[in-house]
Amino acid sequence: MMTVAKRNILLYFRDKSALFFSLLAVIILVALYGTFLGNLISDSLPDFPAKKWLLLSWIFAGILAVTSVTTTLGAFGTLVEDRSTEAVLDFYASPIKRSSLFGGYVMSSIFVGLIMCLLVLLTANAVFFFSGDEMLTILQLLKVIGVISLSVISSSSMILLLVSFFKTVKAFAAASTVIGTLLGFLAGIYIPIGNLPAYLQTIIKFFPTSHSAALFRQILMEQPMKETFAQAPVSAKQEFLQDMGVFYEINGSLTSPMFSVLYLTGVAVLFSILAVVLLKRKRS
């Protein structure tokens, strides 16, 4: 399993175009925020203390959520390519179990997701530092790494199921572009969830990546929120948290961090089972 994983990771980082396209959604996101989206969101909010720090934290939380999906998706491109070029036959004809082989693909995807998210996290901390804001504490960093792991594992399980439907690299590349673009909307990252119509809000609340984004926001925005809402009424804080997708309201009550963690864990387990069943059925 480790052999296949190591080989896939090496291939991912050697393939500069695949690397670029797996980060395309993130690049678009940064470009949108940099050009107009950041100002648009900032202008729609009243002035309050630590506003820039708070928004920066919100943006990085979104970037982390998107990265956890698009990079694992990009890493799974090796599986699709191996299938389309029939390179996978070389593994099938070797004394390696199918479960170990697919375990290798999953493991490499998780590893790539972790590395890329950690790079985003380091970048976020560097940006906070150079902006004169507080960097994340060790405890916060550990929490973020925990959420990154959960988010990446959950994404990997969903994508494993998804890639089983793709036979050509072209189709997979097209799907990746669509997914990368949609992701920003479906996770409430391009535009805060509070600015969207009710039906879209409902979709977002059930979309797993939006729970990753919420967990990232809860940790990254913790410090600036303390500063921002030190003097503000509780109702104003609650309204802001809901509008920005830090917590979601489901059935009249706000989701807790534990709810999002369990939701992501459930998604990971469910999609893993579905993927295994589908792969076994295809094998037979």
Binding site: R7, L11, R14, D90, Y92
Partner: protein
């Protein structure tokens, strides 16, 4: 010699399409075995079953005494495969490719390094070990593919159209390597090819068509059974030669002043040349080829029974 591959009454269908119909044959250890047939003949399906990539519907397949479907992982240690397409990673160097593939065979680090050195030496790729596989020429890629197949010192080397797309010089080099390997290591070589003449060096040939074996034997046996040598004559007087050939009831074709006469045996040419000496401008004895055999067989001659085949 013992049987290293045994196929008994193998059947495989895909939905309503029967790809392999009750096929039986065996391959002797250390032999060069050719498995021929046009596209859709059932070759790939049979090979996929041998390689444990597909499950058969019926029949028993044994590789070095191990049963396909029951001891698949052990069988994969016995076979090295050179696939039709180059399937190694273009972005990795030759050494990296061999390194990652060697790891699949649970070798220790020392064994792995020794295996890489050994195969690099065997197929003469030591000078290109640091180059990316994707940057190599077609012939170099094939040599690396063979090296990959030999990493675990398999008893059987399965070559699936190994020289397709290569120029004649590279084809010759690849074949020299294969034949040298076979003679030096007594490795069994199982070959499929579209270049029928490549099967001429085989110890045994099986020809498939529409899922069934339609011919089998040594290349010599097949040539004598399905084709004949020919005497080509460029005539001084075509009309006279035509008349003489018709009188002698010989089978021939004619184009302008060139006659192609079928020979029952090669030495008949001596008799005919002496007889028609006055009518001949120039001549050539053309040996029958496996290509002729293949074409003849696929044109419908089918007088084989489907019992277990054996070497002549």
């Amino acid at each position: 010699m013992s049987k290293i591959i045994e196929v008994h009454h193998l059947c495989k269908s895909f939905g309503a399409v029967a790809a392999v119909k009750d096929v039986s044959f065996y391959v002797e250890e250390g032999s060069l075995f050719s498995f021929l047939g046009t596209n859709g003949a059932g070759k790939s399906t049979t090979i996929s079953i041998l390689l444990t990539l597909l499950k058969q519907d019926a029949g028993v397949v044994k590789v070095n005494g191990l049963t396909v479907g029951k001891e698949d992982e052990a069988i994969r240690n016995e076979i090295g495969v050179v696939f039709q397409q180059s399937i190694l990673d273009p972005l990795l160097t030759v050494k990296e490719n061999l390194d990652y593939r060697a790891r699949l065979y649970k070798m220790t680090k020392e064994e792995k390094l020794a295996a890489i050195d050994r195969v690099a030496d065997t197929v003469d790729i030591s000078s290109i070990m640091k180059r990316r596989y994707g940057k190599l020429s077609g012939g170099q890629k094939r040599r690396v593919d063979i090296a990959r197949a030999l990493l675990h010192q398999p008893k059987i080397l399965l070559l699936d159209e190994p020289t397709t797309g290569l120029d004649p010089q590279n084809r010759k080099q690849i074949w020299n390597t294969i034949l040298q390997l076979q003679s030096e290591t007594n490795m069994t070589v199982f070959l499929t090819t579209h270049y029928i003449e490549e099967a001429a060096n085989s110890n045994f040939v099986v020809v498939m068509k529409e899922g069934e074996i339609i011919a089998k034997g040594t290349p010599h046996h097949l040539k004598s059974q399905y084709s004949a040598d020919r005497l080509m004559i460029i005539a001084k007087s075509p009309a006279q030669l035509r008349s003489q050939l018709q009188t002698d009831k010989l089978v021939f074709t004619e184009e302008h002043s060139t006659f192609l006469i079928q020979l029952k045996k090669t030495t008949d040419a001596i008799v005919l040349l002496a007889k028609y000496e006055e009518l001949i401008n120039s001549f050539e004895v053309q040996k029958s080829s496996l290509d002729d055999v293949f074409i003849q067989i696929h044109n419908g001659k089918d007088d084989m029974h489907h019992d277990d085949c054996c070497e002549a």
